[in-house]
Point group: C2
Chain length 439, copies 2
């Protein structure tokens, strides 16, 4: 089974946990049976594995998410990187070409595409397997999964089926109607469009060649930036006549806002927090290492991270985006392929950061033009390379790097380092990558 | 005019701004005409100076507040330090002996004692001058100031005067009655006891000698730890028959809880914060350098500091103490005589701190037994002394100090330093003070 997970862009609707470099799907918010926390992408990946351990999972995403994906899912997961954002049709064409040309998936095989962030149970992924079968054996070119609506939502697109059977021809589509119209659609058997569909690889490959002049995956990748932005729905789905929908009656939640996200949380608290008994229907998510105390609040979500603090009535939490847009969005925390970093102090001409490197991982061999850096190892052991000279490092060691000096640090055990950057013009873009003989 | 300001102990009712080392009177929360923020103690000190620029102000306090007082009021202010806490009678005896024996204040001079944290206008301090005159010229041994009650509070003690005149003999005292009884007292002309009184120095000195066997200030200071805890009200006020009260009709607020404190704030926001128009009667105090966003809240106070985050219904904010008692109260921020420090990272075997030293100030010359330290200067210039060797320091300089090594740093301009402490047993009590030839 080939599953493509579409991992979308950065979101501000879950600020302060999501930001320009951390999309909501990477927030560790769901408690596992082992009392650990996992993110949406980790949860979905685990669920797929539980239902079909041999499924070949490919994540279609942008360059900015590659580090987080490797950090959370390991190095084994397939990733198809879009060179830039070009809407869903180019993205699906690219991943389809990738599966065919790079992964050697046959033209007759079925690909199931689904978003990376639905909150569902295993039954959902069992349904995806049925969808695969339908696409394999039926005569539809495209088989969609339609979500049985639970209320006349104005937020979703609707699939209008020919009849109310479990599997039906698709009559037409309707985008975000008002509640009254939505109710009429639902009475006729309409389903929410959850963005899930299955097709034989050759079908989308043909569509891609109809719209785009390219030879193979590499050629498409090269031309990607010049492609027109166009949605898969517009380019393919809405024009297709041999199209079916399969009705899905199980649990499905779209975790786009704090309001919906907190509904899926099993416990009211993640992180250090307390509340008194006069609190009612509150959720506290605290990523800081100091406590949050709530007294006498009702229907409120409190979220604290390195980026900021949100305190919101749950209903109103859907409307934070314009406010967050106004905030100075300096990235304070980010997951990298080698671990993570956290900004712990900012001054006019200095920035202090805590680096945590995972065992066996190291950062790129790099230099900066306009800042000096100093590392102080605070825990773990590893190896620093500065201007091609290697040295073993342990807690208390200090490494000083003037601007221009080429450096990296590689963890043996988990390695924590305080990095002090000093310069008049500290900028994340001031970074030059170099090759090192062993790397 | 001799004014003694009683600066009381640490409080948890204004957590997370007040903590074990920062009492509420040092929180910078009031906006001045110059658009700066000042603390309760700064406000009161400024008001006294405005009303009587020659007033001799002495702050009676504990050792732990000396650094904050010098930091906020400068080095000129008089401070009488209690060696330990022994309730108000020993404290007032000590400061009275201090004024007489150390400051040479005559036995016939009047001392006015008042708490350091009332929220009042200048008229209050004008009234204190009247109180002084009364104690000077009248025949009462003790003259109290009574606050005209604005409602039948159950929180305060009541002074029952002989009549409703502006100045009256005191009939008796009543401690914290229920609201109904309080209303009856008020109908009879009762006043709140705001803890303000004036006396001729010799009067309290005599009382002190009646209760305590001591010769002078130094002797009293030495014996202080053995003194019985006893309140001034019990030992003196309630037994005195020649006692008057002066009625004060002006504004007076006791800023003991978030609820009362926020009532005095001129603007709803201190620090980086935003709220949407659906918020009503909210206050946000944010000491962090990341923003707070509030949506759809009513009657709520949000306070964020290095110690933690409080989100509370204003009414319920009076009840936070038992919850705060349960929190791990690691001090994350403190004002020192030389500037301040802020803990920016804590790991099992390391702690990272940002030090800010005021120009011309330096810390004690000291060493640690069980931790190494590393300083990285991030801004400003100064001088470090390590094992009696002096060196000039500037941004980017690194100073490494092994356990046992004696060190200090002295600011020339404002000096900011990242300090990394490394050791298995990091503890604030692991500190040995030394003498340096020049210090």
């Amino acid at each position: 089974m080939n599953i493509v997970l579409l991992s979308g862009g950065s979101g501000k609707r879950l600020w302060p946990l999501s930001n320009d470099v951390r999309s909501k799907q990477f927030i560790k918010i769901f408690k596992t049976e082992e009392n650990q926390y996992e993110s949406m992408v980790q949860r979905v990946y685990r669920q797929i594995r539980a239902v079909n351990k041999d499924a070949i999972v490919t994540i279609a995403t942008s360059r900015s998410q590659v580090s987080s994906i490797h950090n959370q899912l390991g190095d084994e997961v397939g990733i198809c990187v879009e060179p830039c954002r070009r809407d869903t049709f180019p993205a699906i064409a690219l991943v389809t070409a990738y599966l065919h040309d790079v992964k050697g998936v046959s033209e007759e095989e079925v690909v199931v595409v689904c978003p990376v962030d639905p909150y569902v149970q295993n039954e959902y992924f069992e349904a995806l397997m049925k969808l695969e079968k339908l696409a394999e054996t039926g005569d539809a070119n495209l088989v969609l999964m339609g979500i049985e609506p639970t209320y006349p939502s104005e937020k979703y697109g609707y699939i209008i089926p020919h009849n109310k059977q479990d599997i039906s021809q698709v009559e037409t589509f309707r985008e975000k109607p008002d509640a009254k119209t939505a109710q009429q659609y639902i009475n006729q058997g309409a389903l929410w469009n959850g963005g899930v569909f299955a097709y034989k690889l050759k079908y989308v490959l043909e569509k891609a060649h109809e719209w785009i002049d390219f030879t193979d995956y590499e050629d498409l990748y090269r031309k990607y930036e010049q492609l027109t932005k166009i949605s898969f729905d517009y380019a393919v789905v809405e024009k297709e006549t041999k199209i079916q929908v399969m009705r899905f009656m199980g649990e499905w939640k779209d975790l786009g806002t704090w309001n919906t996200l907190t509904e899926t949380m099993e416990e009211p608290i993640v992180g250090k927090a307390m509340f008194n008994e006069d609190c009612e229907n509150i959720h506290i998510l605290n990523e800081l290492d100091v406590p949050v105390l709530c007294m006498g609040l009702k229907d409120v979500v409190v979220c604290a991270s390195e980026e900021g603090i949100l305190v919101s009535d749950k209903e109103q939490s859907s409307y934070i985006k314009p406010f967050v847009d106004q905030l100075d969005q300096q990235v304070r925390f980010a997951e990298k392929s080698w671990g993570n970093f956290k900004v712990i102090d900012i001054e006019d001409e200095s920035m202090t950061i805590k680096l945590t490197l995972n065992p066996g991982h190291g950062m790129n061999y790099h230099s900066h033009e306009r800042r000096d850096e100093i590392w102080i190892v605070i825990s773990g052991t590893g190896k620093a390379i500065v201007n091609d000279v290697e040295r073993v490092v342990r807690p208390g060691d200090v490494i000083q790097m003037k601007a221009g000096c080429i450096h990296t640090i590689i963890a043996e055990t988990e390695l924590k380092v305080i990095e002090v950057q000093i310069g008049k013009d500290i900028d994340i873009h001031d970074k030059i990558k170099h090759n090192y003989k062993n790397r």
